[in-house]
């Protein structure tokens, strides 16, 4: 294992354009599909599932999974992080990066395995014994599934999974049987949101066994117009069918979004321009910005970049800023380990980080 002390040396993370490597988007889908995520859930047949497992067994089970990772031929690509050894701030950063749930981030006796590039993680002892998670920018479900599938195949050699021919992987939640595969994508849908078409998209997706929810809030008027589309059905379809269906629907939604953007530009150009340039002005000049304000302005700016109203800003920079403008990430910049920190200082630092990342932006 390489020397990895927590997330302390998260390389280049203060420079959004560099740190965005893991979430870089391809040019054509960058305007709508922000990132993709794939998760495979697995349990070991020999142990009760998390929540019902006694503490001593839990430790044994965890170490058995970690041993399987250590035996991988490419074991040096992974770092093992015992959460109990991490400062609270770094646990919260794991949560802010969508690697673990908030509840998991404060649990005891937990460990995760993280790839060097931070794009693949093995989460041990969440709802299931092991969840392999992969994240990547843009429409990347296929490469993500291929990577996780390969890892899973290597791990199964030393981990006897709970599995049956009829029900596939026997996971904790009945909604997660079969493939144990949950795939999702983060979509930026400002035009569908503005036009109210998002409600129809949500209904149609539900009929197709998919769900759409707000990224920053469960409600439909999601902050920053960021939505997560995910598969609900994990059984009865092969892994490739699941991600194929999801990918097709996401591409369709992106098509609707782009057409609606064009329509809005024809009918309400000044409204759009006002929203975009107002956000640019705010992020370029303000000295304090709250998280909420930042997300909304970054969303408007992203729309402006997609419509050619703003130039010299990479969508991947805007994606990175979404993560970097979260509280724990800012506390890391401030090298403040304190649980309570001056909120004015946070807002000031957030404004500064964003301002510096956008110095080259100009009207398109």
């Amino acid at each position: 294992m390489f020397d990895f002390t927590g997330l302390g040396d998260m390389k280049g993370w203060m420079h959004p354009a560099d740190s965005a490597d893991a979430t870089a988007t391809s040019a054509d889908s960058a305007s709508v599909v922000i990132s993709s995520r794939v998760r495979l859930s697995r349990n070991l047949a020999a142990y009760p599932y998390p929540g019902r497992i006694p503490a001593d067994k839990e430790e044994e089970c965890r170490e058995r999974i970690l041993a399987a990772f250590r035996r991988l031929p490419n074991a040096d690509e992974f770092a093992i992080l015992y959460l109990d050894d991490l400062p609270a701030l770094e646990r919260r950063i794991l949560f802010e990066r969508n690697l673990v749930s908030q509840g998991y981030s404060i649990e005891k006796q937990r460990a995760i395995v993280l790839s060097r590039d931070e794009s693949v993680a093995g989460i041990i002892g969440d709802e299931d014994h092991l969840r392999l998670v992969g994240m990547k920018g843009g429409l990347s479900l296929e490469p993500l599934l291929a990577r996780l599938d390969g890892l899973d195949t290597q791990l199964e050699e030393s981990l006897p999974y709970a599995v049956s021919p009829d029900w596939g992987y026997l996971n904790t939640a009945i909604t997660n049987l079969g493939t144990g595969l949950k795939a999702s994508m983060m979509l930026h849908l400002p035009a569908l949101s503005m036009s109210g078409l998002i409600k129809r998209a949500v209904k149609a997706s539900a009929q197709l066994g998919l769900s759409i929810r707000g990224f920053f809030s469960e409600s439909m008027d999601s902050l920053g117009d960021m939505y997560i589309i995910a598969n609900e059905i994990t059984i009865g379809l092969a892994e490739k069918e699941i991600i194929g269906n999801l990918g097709r629907i996401a591409v369709q939604l992106a098509g609707y979004e782009n057409r609606t953007r064009e329509e809005l530009m024809e009918k309400r150009r000044v409204d759009i321009e006002d929203r975009v340039f107002r956000a640019w002005g705010l992020l370029t000049w303000c000295r304090y910005v709250s998280h909420r304000e930042a997300i909304e302005a970054l969303s408007a700016l992203r729309l402006g970049v997609a419509l050619g109203l703003i130039a010299a800003v990479e969508p991947s920079t805007l994606t990175a800023l979404l993560y970097l403008s979260q509280k724990s990430h800012i506390q890391r910049v401030l090298q403040s380990q304190a649980d309570t920190v001056d909120s004015k200082l946070i807002d000031y630092t957030r404004a500064k980080i964003i301002r510096e990342a956008l110095t080259n932006a100009r009207g398109g």
Binding site: N43, A45, Y47, P48, Y49, G51, R52, E127, D149, D152, T153, E156, Y161, A162, V163, S164, P165, D166, W167, G168, L170, N171, T172, A173, I174, T175, L177, G178, T179, L181, I233, I235, G236, L237, A238, E239
Partner: protein, 168 residues
């Protein structure tokens, strides 16, 4: 008919009961012997017609498919109670899946269009599974065809099963 048709259930005795379904210009036939018909509870004096669906279901596994396993009150291994499982939809260990088999089947059939795994399996299991998977799939299709009373399709699947497994 020169040679007597054999019973399609036991394959031993001559069939004395012939069920013929005519659909447009297609004719589907099922032939069974008296003993098998009695054993399946298909012949009773008050029976004015034969419940073909039951008959075909019986053919699937040689047992009444409606009488499934009993649901246990709790999982014998981890102690998860049936009520807890029903409330949360979460299992406590691998053995819960046997203990709550019937419940799980019922929930899955409402949740998913095809409540049967068709994806990846660990290598050791998939080799063994591949051999029986096709036959299982066909039996499932046969069951579905019978349920929706599509006997034309049912007969076709039955023939396919026979080709695969000559002893059936």
């Amino acid at each position: 008919m020169g040679v007597a048709t054999k019973c399609e259930i036991c394959g031993l005795k001559d069939a004395v009961i012939h069920i013929r379904q005519i659909q447009k210009d297609l004719v589907h036939e099922l032939h069974i012997c008296e003993e098998c018909a009695q054993e399946k509870g298909l012949i009773r004096e008050e029976d004015s017609e034969l419940p073909i669906a039951n008959l075909l279901s019986g053919l699937l596994e040689g047992k009444d498919v409606t009488g499934a396993l009993e649901v246990k009150d709790a999982c014998p291994k981890c102690g998860l109670k049936a009520v807890e499982f029903r409330k949360q939809g979460k299992l406590g260990c691998a053995e819960c899946f046997e203990a709550f088999d019937k419940d799980i089947r019922a929930i899955l059939s409402q949740m998913a269009a095809r409540p049967r795994h068709t994806g990846k399996l660990p290598h050791t299991l998939s080799v063994e599974h591949a051999a029986s998977a096709e036959g299982e799939g066909l039996r499932e299709e046969l069951r579905e065809a019978v349920e929706r009373e599509d006997y034309e399709q049912a007969a076709r699947i039955r023939d396919k099963l026979r080709e695969m497994e000559p002893n059936v």
